[in-house]
Amino acid sequence: MQTVTRIQKVTHHYHNTLALDDITLTISAGMMVGLLGPDGVGKSTLMGLISGARKLQQGQLTVLDGDMALAKHRELIGPRIAYMPQGLGKNLYAELSVEENLDFFAKLFNQPAHERKARIDKLTKATQLHAFLSRPVKKLSGGMKQKLGLCCALIHDPDLLILDEPTTGVDPLSRRQFWQLIASIRAQRPTMSILVSTAYMDEAEGFDYLIAMDAGRVLDTGTPQEIKAKTHTMDLESAFVRLLPQEKRANHSKLIIPPFKKSNASPAIIAKNLTRRFGDFTAVNDVSFEIQAGEIFGFLGSNGCGKTTTMKMLTGLLSVSSGEAYLFGKAVNANDIQTRQRVGFMSQTFSLYGELTVAQNLTLHARLFHLAPAQAAQRINTLTKRFGLHTYMDEAAASLPLGMRQRLSLAVAVIHQPEMLILDEPTSGVDPVARDQFWALLVELSRTDKVTIFISTHFMNEALRCDRISLMHAGEVLIYGTPEQLIEKKGAETLEQAFIAYLEAAIKQKKSIENIPSLPIPTSPPELELPPSNKERAKHNRFSFHRLLAYSYLETMQVLRDPIRLAFAFVGSAILLIVIAYGISLDVENLNYAAFDNDRSPESRQYLSNFQGSRYFVSRPDVHSNDELEQRLTSNDITLALEIPAGFGRALKNGESPSVSAWIDGSNTIRAGTIAGYVTGVHLHYITELANNAGIDASALAKVNLASRYRYNPTFKTVFSIGPKTPAMLLLLFPAILMAVSISREKEMGTITNFYVTPTNKLEFLLGKQLPYIVIGMLNFFILTFMVVFLLQVPLQGSFFGLMLGALFYVFAATGFGLLVASITQTQVASIFATAILCMLPTLQFSGIVQPTSTLEGAGHIIGTVWPATYYMHLSVAAFTKGLEFGDLAKDIILLALFGPVFIAIAATSLKKQEH
């Protein structure tokens, strides 16, 4: 038999944690191989390595007859592997529709339009997604997301399909459909190998071969029958527990639930006709139930049926559209702090602080619930032992495996010993042993401490443990009662069968009433015959313009789906242009000044009168003493004081050249320099007049005539300088920050995996994402240019073409810088922070908005010289105000053209093609 992958002595570390410990394995081709094991034993790491998404640290890994340590081999086999990471719809683009997602993946494998269409058609018909082709992924239920994920993985006929917990958090009906789909694909393509991890032991029964793992090591391998035989067990769940080392199963015993004794206390939770609408969509419709104090009440239903919404309404996180909800007999009130102290809540998505360690998270919550320090320490100790978290205490929560994170969330939810627990799929992704331990705790809480527990789950064995369960579908409660009652009513054998029967009945009924496409039920495994895909084309690993455009199209769609962002980008820069161009005035006007006239003679008054008429100066009441002069300058009441000495008039008449002192507030040095110039001007004007009055031609006194000619801006208006420079600022900052956020968002949301595991190369990814932002930047350029010309009335006297070409290179450089920042930073916050900090200073201070770069000193001069804004400002002023033609602008344009490629080159070097 052929092997699909050979793993030899592979070891993997995350910081100090050992994820894989010297693993050696061989996996045969054409089989469905299951990876089983508790949380955090290295299943996901192993899958990441095999798919090529993770970088191999140590050991030898051969996948599809080649060494995965070699980039060349990874590139070669990339088109033959499909990888679906853990998490519902983790690698899908939430804003895009089903069809757009599929189309994007198909484009990455260079499939021509007709082939894409045919394949999308087949796949979606087989998965019943065809009716939802235009629905955005974020509006799909979890089960549908997983089916779509599978379709995306299958779009290029992979030889190796890697599925990491594909059915975690998926309801039984969707789960069944999912496996039917896989079965039919295997029937079609028997040569395809599938590697899959799962927490459901019933699923594992159907696999060809199992690999049981624990603590980074392989415990055992074999067919399900072999494993059961080896461990002398009847089912895999027990077999799996038996395989675990002694200490791990020590406290694992069959869970016994004492019967629930109904007390006479009033119900702990009452929901009366709860309804919640989002726009015209009714998420929860007329839901009523009562939950007794101390009862364990289970909430079941397909994904997206309104379970979470109901729970959020009970906690006050969402307001109700109509109906009433009571906790402990009191109406739910979002501001009721006291009730919240008595409730523990765990939401479906991980909502603790990833950057804090496990211990820090627990301590923080203990503090926020005001547990006494000693009590808190004891409680944390108990809980961490119970949930097996004690070995993870100093790990950042974000780096924990999914199952461990769930356990941490649970520990946090119960830390303050609440009287009521509202738990939204708390055991999703948690291994069987840990789930049993958790349930032991729930049972103890419920039976001993009379804690009311309201829990939603997809596990039928958990539902069976509830005192009562309620089945929800499409916003409505179908039925509620004890699990036994529900099974009996449908005459089913198991709860799962009953569950599916109820759902199918509801779907049929709904369909017949409303006649709308809803989740259809497959009666037989779907037919799936895909047109052959052209492997040769996909193997082309050289730069592909098609893939680049696929990324551009993807990005464009995402931008268009967020019209607010687009509006901010255009309106924001337009507003800023107006505010800044009008707000920055380098003319110093309306200066407050006061006279300190110690002479009070006609001559001194005449001197001062020169200042009164000027548009630069505004007269304030006279100063009467030195102290007052200082005090008024200090308080910013005046910025200039003119001190005329006693005896000024007499001295002037006697020709003794008396001195007048001008006190200028020097705190703003630029302004001080300008004021000094104005004062000198007025002073000289006075002297000339004095001479004229005395009958002397004053100008004759001067030996030379100094004629100043202000070129390019004869009226000396600031707007002729600032007007063309402001767009330079906006065309850098806006595109750069948008670009940076776009890339780091992929990193944060996990869609970057698609870049890791598909044959996309770095340049296709970077340039493809960049293209739409260059278009946005250029549109902005046209808007801003239009505004400068028509609103600010600064004519564009020079070459428009030169300016436009410069702007194109400039926007390319700006977005390139955004790529550079995003290739280094990991989170969206860090990339915004970094882009703003690194761009603001050079652009606002060193690029010549006020002070030309050439006149700067030191680091500022150097930074300004290597910053593109400097050259674009220069170009813009030259084109607008100086009216230069293309030839004269060429130097700036050429310099601008150099920045983009340099930034992109750095970004491409620092961007990783694999995860560490």
Binding site: F345, Q360, A396, S659, V660, V704, R745, I832, K891
Partner: protein, 375 residues
């Protein structure tokens, strides 16, 4: 009541931990308060510095030579001699900011009292440098001509002498103002982004919902973010003010340092409140990033650091009044340079706190609404 403050305290320590564990963010903060401040402060020493100048000397006399020699660094670069025909082209190409043209027979004409005309061509697109530089050139030429003929330093005796005195910064050292302006810009930008992004990140990751089902309210959550992020910036500001500004750049602080820190704290509160406010309006990080630009750029450019408030057009002035940065700029200039006490700066302090409170209250009002729109 005690619980409220305890919650704020503990939530705040969480913020500090998050930030301190992020190496890249810390490095950016360190850079912003050290190198960035230093670079900005030392970049501009004089309003005219190193200006490029050319001389068209059509006289080639001793006098024209003297004038050329008098234009030297640091105000001007060493002049380049060009021909009259080159002037237009050279100025178009931005080779020179100033071109001084000395006509033929200049010295001779001066001797004969014919008042020859020296032409000064100025590139007026650099507005400030153009006017101040022109003033310098004019006075240098007049002085040199007078000196040349009288052989004395005494310029023409005017009937009235004018003595310029710069209060608070006697040498007119431009670095002083730039340094304070740089600090203001950095704390504005960093505080707004840090606090706003901290809130938005919690919204995007759903941790805010988690907090809201605990016995905590919006006030506590917001206050915790403000004090924790504000404290980080306050510490960075203090270190920067006393190590970089006072020690390395040698800029004296005339007023009370305690008052300066007090006012800075008030301003940090206002900036953080603005950050939180933006964090409640934006739906995604991309929107937040754009909003931040739309707020920070005016706050930095219209604070009075580039253009004195009194010179801003009348339509803009009421708008800038709403910017806490404008009042903080007035405050810090008064305290650092003019040594103003609380008796003089209390109005600015009050306005800063009032504006901060207004944004704070607005964000509380937006808080719950912002959560709903996320789901």
């Amino acid at each position: 009541m005690l619980n409220t403050w305890l919650n704020i305290y503990w939530l705040g320590t969480k913020e500090l931990r998050s930030l301190l564990s992020d190496f890249i963010m810390l490095m950016l903060i360190v850079y912003s308060f050290s190198l960035a401040i230093y670079a900005e402060a030392t970049a501009i020493s004089e309003s005219v510095h190193n200006a490029s100048i050319a001389i068209v000397d059509e006289d080639q006399s001793a006098l024209s030579g003297t004038i050329a020699n008098a234009l030297y660094p640091p105000y001007f670069k060493t002049p380049i001699f060009i021909s009259a025909a080159q002037t237009d082209r050279a100025m178009d190409q931005d080779k020179f900011m100033f071109v001084v043209t000395i006509p033929p027979k200049f010295e001779q004409n001066v001797r004969q009292g014919r008042q020859p005309t020296v032409q000064i061509d100025i590139d007026a697109t650099a507005v400030t440098q153009a006017s101040i530089g022109n003033g310098y050139i004019q006075s240098i030429i007049s002085q040199e001509v007078n000196y040349f003929f009288k052989r004395s330093d005494q310029s023409t005796a005017y009937p009235v002498e004018l003595i310029m005195r710069q209060a608070f910064n006697p040498n007119g050292n431009g670095m002083w103002f730039s340094a304070i302006n740089a600090l203001l810009n950095q704390i504005t930008m960093l505080t707004i982004i840090l606090t706003g992004a901290a809130l938005l990140r919690e919204r995007e990751h759903g941790t805010i919902e988690h907090l809201l089902v605990m016995p905590l309210n919006a006030f506590q959550i917001v206050m915790a973010k403000i004090w924790a992020n504000g404290l980080i910036i306050l510490i960075a500001f203090t270190l920067s003010m006393f190590l970089v500004v006072e020690n390395i750049l040698d800029i004296p602080v005339a007023g009370s340092k305690f008052l300066l820190l007090l006012g800075t704290s008030a301003y940090l509160f206002a900036a953080a409140a603005i950050g939180i406010f933006l964090g409640t309006i934006a739906q995604t990080m991309a929107q937040f990033a754009l909003l931040v630009l739309m707020v920070i750029i005016p706050m930095v450019m219209l604070s009075g650091g580039l253009t004195p408030i009194e010179s801003q057009p009348d339509i803009i002035q009421p708008l800038t009044w709403l910017l806490p940065s404008r009042h903080y700029m007035e405050f810090s200039q008064a305290v650092v340079f003019r040594g103003a006490g609380i008796n003089l700066v209390w109005p600015q302090l009050t306005i800063i706190i009032a504006l901060g409170a207004a944004f704070f209250i607005a964000s509380l009002a937006m808080f719950r609404r912002s959560l709903k729109s996320m789901t």
